[in-house]
């Protein structure tokens, strides 16, 4: 019996199925909990399922690459998911006119704010140079932020983690913060969520409303571009 159990564990530990199934099941459970408990931002399913899965990896001594062998099948869908943002965006752009000027100003201000406030605050608290270089592009979507961090001499995988933490934080505090600032226009709310918190902000914006989601996708895409153009110049000023 014990050897049967050991055999089963050896099979499961080697197979991508275990962590693929656990990732989807954990997320599904966390999402149900989130809806049942009135969508409290601290119970956002990305946050709770990451905490649970990290605990499972640590408890079972599973290295991250082993986990990723299973989870990569979900991760892969991120690419087509980002391409898919064009569909709601196309619909929204036909509803509104004269967006280019307002959105460019908001994008530029937001993108500079994201980099400058993050780097200055972390430097004030004595973060290492490597950490600062990995932190600077944190509001851009993960693949862009990793590329920028690498070019600057930061750590791409640390940048990816900081991007994710930013996304969770933005998705958690964003809607209520914006409401408190009397930002009620779904287009403005969504755009801010996309600029500040990339894809996770966009996923959160889609929960609020279709228009917010579409503008959030636009904000994320534009900030990916703005961050990659701005960060190298800003870092020369901030960290001479």
């Amino acid at each position: 019996m014990t050897s049967r159990l050991t055999e089963t564990w050896v099979y499961l530990a080697q197979s991508p199925l275990l962590w693929l199934a656990l990732t989807v099941a954990t997320y599904a459970g966390c999402e149900t909990l989130y809806r049942r408990l009135g969508r409290h931002p601290l119970l956002h399913p990305v946050l709770t399922s990451v905490v649970i899965l990290v605990s499972l990896l640590l408890a079972s001594g599973t290295p991250y690459p082993r986990f990723f062998e299973g989870a990569q099948f979900i991760h892969f869908l991120l690419g087509p998911g980002i391409v898919a943002l064009a569909v709601p965006l196309h619909r929204e752009l036909h509803r509104e006119q004269a967006l280019a000027f307002p959105l460019s100003v908001a994008l530029l201000a937001g993108s500079v704010t994201a980099v400058v406030t993050a780097v200055l605050t972390a430097r004030l608290f004595g973060a290492s140079r490597e950490t600062l270089l990995s932190l600077a592009p944190k509001s851009a979507t993960a693949p862009v932020a990793m590329g920028i961090a690498e070019k600057l001499g930061g750590l791409p995988s640390l940048a990816a983690s900081l991007v994710l933490l930013t996304g969770v934080l933005g998705a958690v505090i964003g809607p209520s913060l914006l409401r408190r600032l009397r930002v009620t226009d779904p287009a403005a709310t969504g755009f801010a969520l996309g600029v500040a918190a990339h894809g996770l902000g966009t996923a959160r914006a889609f929960e609020l409303d279709e228009t917010a989601g579409a503008f959030s996708g636009l904000g994320m895409g534009l900030n990916a571009l703005a961050t990659s153009l701005l960060v190298p110049a800003l870092m020369r000023l901030l960290l001479p």
Partner: protein
């Protein structure tokens, strides 16, 4: 649905190829999104299947970030060592970015008088 998924994957593929060939500073999927937007303006891809495929993916967009999110497990020692700096920086910066972007966009997006929905 299947055709829609094929359209999304082909646009991502073209985006990835262009990013590399032209060494663009943005990732392939973002280039793919822009190209699909242009194609939709020109009424190229078949609409219904695309709507089904994109709707399906966007409904579970949050789930798609979980595998990368769990990657934080590799950086727990550094996060533990530098958490006051990183926590403060992420909180201040994310709140400031949301506030600045949202406030400016909300002020400037107010429709000019006379237009519908102003």
């Amino acid at each position: 649905m299947l055709r829609g998924l094929a359209v999304l994957l082909v646009f991502q593929l073209v985006g990835e190829v262009l990013t590399r060939l032209l060494s663009l500073p943005v990732p392939g999927p973002v280039v793919g999104m822009v190209l699909l937007l242009l194609a939709l303006e020109l009424r190229l891809p078949q609409r219904d299947g695309l709507r089904a495929a994109s709707g399906g993916l966007l409904a579970v967009l949050s789930l798609l970030f979980v595998p990368a999110g769990v990657g934080v497990v590799q950086h727990l020692p550094r996060l533990a060592a530098e958490w006051p700096a990183l926590g403060a920086a992420l909180l201040v910066s994310t709140a400031a970015t949301l506030a600045v972007t949202g406030w400016i966009a909300a002020r400037l997006l107010r429709r000019p008088a006379g237009r519908e929905g102003a």
